[in-house]
């Protein structure tokens, strides 16, 4: 048969038509898609009975109640607990992502001992017996050398049972060097001690307040107990409560505020004193409260009237019109239940003593203290009443030594801990070496300012013992890791959340069995103390941590187990009485000659560094001990992070001065470091200010977090507040150049 052109074409066309019209290709496509959709590596989650267990979230100090949904023994979802006094069903994204931390790749799965160089990431798995024995022997050697003071501890917090066990351990051991990560509670506690005679983080009855004057506090960016603050804000939306937000950047808080008052970074205190000036001058202060319950008013009055006129304050702060200051001051003073707060961003930085005193003085001017809708003071950790640990002669002599960070002595007699000074002191004072350092619930090598200097200081520490549940930057740099259970696997207390208007204490409960060979740090300490014997053993009389927490809570344990929280009803608000020597609220603290004052920060090299770099906190970026989990990273906007590039917010007018277009690559330099960044034009930032988010630039954790962006802490240095020793840095001078 001859195949000519015509028959070839008809055959081809016929075949094409036949195949197309037949169901075959469709059937094959369908089969193919079904086949590919049934590839076995797409998991089919096993089914089972659904149960719910209540606990508390421990990922931040917020203390939200959580309800964990389980199928069989798997935890599958975390939700906010309905009716909980802190969050009533609401929950933030970090809390929601907790299971990614529980089952995620960043967990430390067994005790580990370093075999490579520090930070190299080479580890040997060891047993708990060996780990405890090794740490006990290192500690024992140090004690026999008569240098117990050369041991120290960096704890994520100084509140709650576990941090107090670490403190107790050091006390029994003979070291005064227990240091907690800094937070606004440090500065607030000291300001409260000066003014109200009570060293505690104040509570704020936001739910019943109607006017909030916030000096940079990220009320809607994670300050205090985040879910509770969001709820309070919704309440204000309903009832007409007003927020005035004072900060250089249009944060989420500023965006939702009734009024946003941008001021130059670091000048908030001047504004607070200027507002006091207007209130006093216009006779809008609460006369009953001032005359009946305060002391030192005249000295305060004299200072603010003489030095902080609206015109002068407008000039300092960069507010274009002094009448704006007068208006805000009058609105604040005329509100029924106004509250002034501070503590920048999420409140995990300290600030100068006078900064906090100046803001708190406003609460006294309007007399809204110890009242519903006002500022309240209650004691935290009221349930921890352990007898003082017995000290043997080594411990007693060790405890006589001054602290390595200088807190409580010399220049800074009032501070309880000054972790910000640790790096400098280790390097400066060769006679006071730190030989053993415990790190618990903290990641200082990521989240302390000037991380590079701290790392250099850590190089001088012979043994770093990490108790971290996760392989964070500090755990990576440790010599031995004794991994704690993570919060869904353990008992713990959730102390009163910072700023909470009610003394709510929550219970963290194990909702799943420990997934790995980890141990509660409380148990690890008890075992260490037992191994060391003598007075150390006697200081830890509990069989295990569970006994310890049960005995500590005593009669409240049942409430905690059943309800998940306990509201301490014994706490009284004090009324018009204060615990100061005068029994009054003191504007002027005579014992340190402290009268709030604003001092312009000294700016060196302002010529070569013409811009101001500030950080901002986002509820979507965890930036302390916890690294941002994958779900939370998914929510980070592409104007903040693109690939591995971090964007900084710059006002277009400023960017254009440096020839930078939107999205341009630039080198951001400060006196301590520099970083490659990209520019994001923002009309929500003051000209000449650069804003950078905290929480990125990790080197540890997993591929979902590591290597993305820049760590703000590598670009700044702490600045010592002369009155307290706390870090009072508001940011740092910087420059921006085309890259």
């Amino acid at each position: 048969m001859k195949i000519d052109r015509r028959s070839f074409l008809s055959l081809s066309i016929g075949a094409t038509a036949g195949v197309t019209l037949s169901p075959l290709p469709w059937k094959l496509t369908d089969d193919l898609s079904i086949w590919t959709q049934n590839w076995p590596w797409t998991p089919v989650p096993p089914d089972g009975a659904t149960t719910y267990e209540n606990s508390s979230c421990a990922l931040c100090p917020g203390g939200c109640g959580i309800t964990v949904r389980k199928v069989g023994d798997r935890a599958i979802k975390i939700e906010g607990t309905d009716g909980h006094p802190v969050n009533d069903g609401g929950i933030c994204m970090l809390g929601l992502s907790g299971l990614q931390l529980l089952y995620g790749p960043t967990r430390v799965k067994t005790p580990l001992k370093r075999v490579g160089k520090r930070g190299e990431g080479k580890w040997k798995k060891i047993s708990w017996d060996q780990a405890i024995a090794e740490v006990a022997s290192t500690l024992g050697d140090l004690r026999s050398d008569g240098k117990p003071w050369a041991a120290g501890c960096v704890s994520g917090s100084d509140k709650g049972i576990t941090p107090n066990l670490f403190k107790r351990f050091l006390t029994a051991y003979g070291s005064p060097n227990f240091m907690a990560m800094p937070s606004m509670a440090d500065s607030y506690s000291l300001a409260m001690r000066m003014m109200q005679g009570q060293e505690t983080m104040p509570g704020f009855d936001f739910e019943n307040a109607d006017f909030i004057l916030s000096f940079g506090s990220g009320i809607l960016d994670g300050w205090g107990s985040p879910a509770r603050m969001f709820k309070a804000n919704s309440q204000w939306v309903k009832t007409g409560g007003k927020v005035v937000q004072i900060e250089p950047r249009l944060s989420n808080t500023a965006a939702k505020a009734y009024k946003w008052l941008p001021v130059k970074p670091g000048t908030e205190t001047a504004l607070a004193l200027g507002i006091a000036h207007v209130i006093i001058k216009s006779n809008l202060y609460n006369r009953d409260f001032i005359s009946g319950s305060t002391a030192g008013f005249n000295a305060f009055k004299k200072r603010v009237i003489e030095q902080y006129s609206p015109a002068k304050v407008a000039e300092i702060t960069g507010i274009d019109d002094p009448s704006k200051i007068e208006r805000v001051a009058k609105e604040f003073a005329k509100a029924k239940r106004p509250i002034a707060i501070c503590g920048k961003g999420q409140g995990d930085v300290t600030g100068g003593l006078y900064d906090f005193m100046a803001v708190h003085a406003l609460n006294a001017l309007v007399g809204n203290i110890n009242k519903s809708g006002g500022v309240l003071a209650f004691e935290t950790d009221s349930y921890i009443n352990w007898p003082e640990p017995g000290k043997d002669s080594v411990a007693a002599s060790g405890l006589r030594k001054r602290r390595i960070d200088g807190a409580g002595t010399g220049k800074y007699p009032h501070a309880r801990g000054l972790l910000n000074r640790l790096a400098g002191q280790i390097v400066k004072d060769e006679k006071y070496p730190l030989e053993v350092l415990f790190v618990s619930g903290a990641n200082p090598l990521y989240s302390m300012p000037d991380t590079n200097s701290l790392k250099k200081a850590f190089d001088k520490v012979s043994t770093i013992v990490s108790f971290s549940s996760y392989m964070d930057e500090t755990a990576m740099y440790a010599d031995i890791i004794l991994p704690n259970h993570m919060y869904l696997e353990r008992y713990d207390d959730a102390p009163i959340p910072p700023g909470m208007g009610k003394p709510v204490v929550g219970l963290v409960k194990p909702v799943v069995k420990p997934q790995f060979d980890t141990m509660h740090s409380g148990d690890a300490l008890i075992r260490l103390a037992n191994e060391m014997g003598g007075s150390m053993k006697a200081a830890f009389p509990w069989e295990d941590y569970e006994r310890c927490i049960k005995e500590t809570f005593g009669e409240h344990w049942e409430t905690l187990e059943n309800e998940g929280f306990w509201v301490d009803s014994n706490v009284s608000s004090g009324g018009g009485k204060f615990a100061t020597d005068s029994g009054k609220f003191e504007f002027y603290a005579e014992n340190i000659n402290a009268l709030p004052i604003y001092k312009q920060a000294k700016i060196e090299n302002s010529h070569s560094y013409p811009l101001a770099l500030v950080s901002y906190d986002s509820i979507r970026l965890a930036h302390n001990y916890i690294g941002d989990p994958p779900f939370a990273m998914k929510t980070v906007e592409s104007t903040v992070l693109k690939g591995n590039d971090l964007f900084v917010e710059v006002n277009p007018t400023t960017a254009k001065t440096y020839g930078l277009s939107n999205g341009a690559r630039a080198t951001l330099s400060t006196p301590v470091g520099s970083a490659r960044v990209r520019v994001n034009f923002s009309e929500g930032i003051m000209p000449n200010v650069i804003a950078m988010p905290k929480g990125l630039g990790h080197t540890a954790f997993d591929m979902y977090l590591a290597g993305k962006g820049v760590n703000f802490n590598e670009l700044i240095v702490p600045i010592e507040d002369p009155a307290s020793g706390f870090d009072a840095a508001w940011g740092i001078m910087a420059k921006l150049a085309k890259a």
Binding site: T42, P45, G80, Y103, S234, V237, A255, K256
Partner: protein, 269 residues
């Protein structure tokens, strides 16, 4: 079974109070965690990042210091179109996505989807996402996957389902307890439940007792258009008849809900 008239059946919808929304993103993560949404090492390319619920940031476009921002969470709008002709349902060749006249929910049946992505092209809200890769959970992390929602595989489109599995579970429970129907609070989406600001209200727009109906005041004679003057829908003029409503006291926010020609004075419905 006799098909019920949609006017008498349920019409689930949502009102998001943008005055209360603080842009915290809890809704996004509550959704991811409820619905087994996958994640990858780099999620910064937002065209590839699967987020059934996505919070957008709107600005009034003014310069410092008059700049304002507003956050806007965007789930699937569950458009009703006219008589169930939502944009995506109309174009799906595989009947993988359908409009339920029982509940008003636009479904997505992954095993029927063969990945043509017509629906993505037709959705004016960018609410649909394609799985370019098989989902991979790091070792051990698949333990948290919920059995109520099947993990999707490469090659299919996925989107917000108004947590339809929660509706099914609630209805099953009701039937088991010999009830014909469920109460308002028995079926709430994961985002509604998680929102710490209480900005999201969810319920049956056909039920005058439900908070969602009272807030939106949908005019059912006119394609569900809100009668509450502070309430608006996204791209109202397209006639997609979405069931997600937004409330804002700020005019510029309400205006940015639709594509207005520059200098246009008011919306031309």
């Amino acid at each position: 079974m006799k098909r019920r008239n949609h006017q008498n059946a349920k019409r689930y919808g949502m009102v998001v109070d943008l005055d209360k929304c603080v842009g915290c993103g809890s809704c996004m993560v509550a959704c991811m965690s409820e619905n087994n949404v996958p994640f990858r090492a780099d999620e910064s390319d937002k065209l590839l990042s699967i987020t059934w619920m996505k919070v957008f940031k709107l600005t009034n476009g003014k310069t410092f210091p008059d700049n304002e921002i507003c956050y806007l969470p965007r789930p699937c709008m569950h458009c009703e179109g006219s008589h169930g002709h939502s944009p995506c349902v109309s174009v799906c060749p595989a009947t993988a996505t359908d409009y339920s006249s029982e509940t008003g929910i636009v479904s997505q049946i992954y095993t029927r989807c063969f990945g043509c992505r017509y629906c993505m092209g037709s959705c004016p809200y960018h609410a649909r996402y394609f799985n370019w890769w098989d989902p991979v959970w790091p070792e051990g992390m698949e333990k948290y996957l919920s059995p109520n929602v099947s993990p999707r595989m490469r090659g299919v489109v996925e989107k917000c389902s108004f947590c339809f599995h929660r509706y099914q579970l609630a209805m099953n429970k009701a039937y088991y307890e010999e009830r014909d129907d469920i109460e308002e609070d028995e079926y709430q989406t994961a985002c509604t439940q998680a929102c710490p600001a209480g900005a999201i209200t969810f319920g049956d727009l056909n039920n005058p007792d439900h908070a969602v109906t009272q807030l939106a005041q949908p005019d059912l004679k006119h394609g569900g258009r809100p009668k509450n003057p502070l309430v608006f829908r996204l791209l109202e003029r397209l006639g997609t008849n979405p069931k997600v409503y937004y409330l804002s006291s700020r005019e510029w926010v309400r205006k940015s809900g639709d594509n207005y020609v520059k200098d246009e004075k008011k919306s031309a419905h």
